[in-house]
């Protein structure tokens, strides 16, 4: 009788060990999947951020160079923000493209000569906390603060002075 009880206990211990092993495996597998998902998400997010940064820099650099003619690039104050403007706005039928930071985004707006500036109407280029254009001599400085609060600067050499500089 006592031998039978010992054998049953041994059998149930063996079963418990098997299920303990299975449980440990399940926990480790879940942790592994969670860790991998986190790593995958951060990798994709980083790649997306760098891609957006590359696109934005290329866009700004090429747009500035394409409009680098007499009074083709200017910086002006619209409300409480500095706006980078490309093209002509003095002529009645002239159009200009405005690039500015608004509501956590860098936006672009095509504006006709007789239209008033409304930052809400701009099309978002990418997310950014702040966008500050500035000019020193013939060097245009574009300061961009990204979603994480990291500030980067983009420099563009101008062959022609900006409207702001030409007016001096």
């Amino acid at each position: 009788m006592s031998r039978k009880t010992f054998s049953t206990r041994q059998h149930s211990m063996s079963g418990a060990f098997v299920f303990l092993l299975l449980g440990l495996f399940a926990v480790l597998s879940t942790l592994m999947v969670l860790f991998s998902a986190k790593l995958y998400r951060s990798t994709v997010m980083e790649a997306t951020e760098y891609s957006a940064q590359r696109v934005l820099n290329s866009y700004l650099l090429n747009t500035v160079h394409a409009n680098d003619r007499a009074q083709g690039v200017s910086i002006r104050r619209e409300g409480d923000m500095d706006v980078l403007a490309f093209g002509w706005s003095d002529a009645e039928d002239g159009y200009e493209t405005l690039v500015y930071g608004y509501n956590g985004e860098i936006r672009e707006l095509l504006l006709g000569g007789d239209e008033t500036f409304d930052p809400e109407l701009g099309e978002a280029i990418c997310a950014a906390q702040r966008f500050t254009p500035g000019v020193e001599g013939s060097l245009l400085t574009l300061s961009i603060t990204d979603g994480k609060g990291v500030e980067s600067k983009l420099y563009v050499a101008l062959s022609c002075p900006t409207r702001k500089e030409a007016a001096r």
Binding site: V18, L22, M32, L39, Q53, L154, A157
Partner: protein
């Protein structure tokens, strides 16, 4: 009792084989994710190097004294037969930059050329090569 013991052992062996198989799969998965992470870090370094190379090139185009600008940006001049060569001396960067300046005098001024080369990590293969030319007209007397 013997039959019970044999069944339990068979289940244990089966679970052990399953655990081994999934452990191998996890190792492969982890390896793949580490490679993806390394690739992402390399790509980030190349992007940073490209942005920095473009920035220094644009600044050189606008600068009246390119050597002073490079020195102010942490570049150190090194001796070379190919003109003036400047290298970034900053440590801890994921990339390194080299700038070579050339000046070709002409009758009406000088043609200033800047070559910027960037390397990522310890690689000998350049990841970025940019060049720009800027004409400085001579003052008319």
């Amino acid at each position: 009792m013997n039959r019970h013991g044999n069944n339990s052992n068979a289940l244990l062996v089966e679970i052990m084989i399953a655990v081994l198989f999934f452990s191998l799969c996890s190792t492969v998965l982890l390896d793949a994710f580490i490679k993806a992470h390394d690739g992402s870090a390399r790509s980030a370094a190349v992007t940073d190097a490209l942005i920095e190379a473009r920035n220094i090139l644009e600044q050189l185009n606008a600068a009246e004294e390119p050597e002073a600008l490079l020195a102010a940006n942490g570049y150190a001049e090194t001796e070379s037969e190919d003109g003036s060569v400047w290298q970034q001396t900053g440590e801890g960067e994921a990339y390194r930059l080299m700038v070579r300046l050339e000046s070709t005098p002409t009758e009406a001024g000088a043609l200033r050329t800047a070559h910027v080369t960037a390397w990522s990590g310890a690689s000998d293969q350049p990841v970025v090569r940019l060049q720009s030319a800027h004409y400085d007209p001579a003052e008319v007397e």
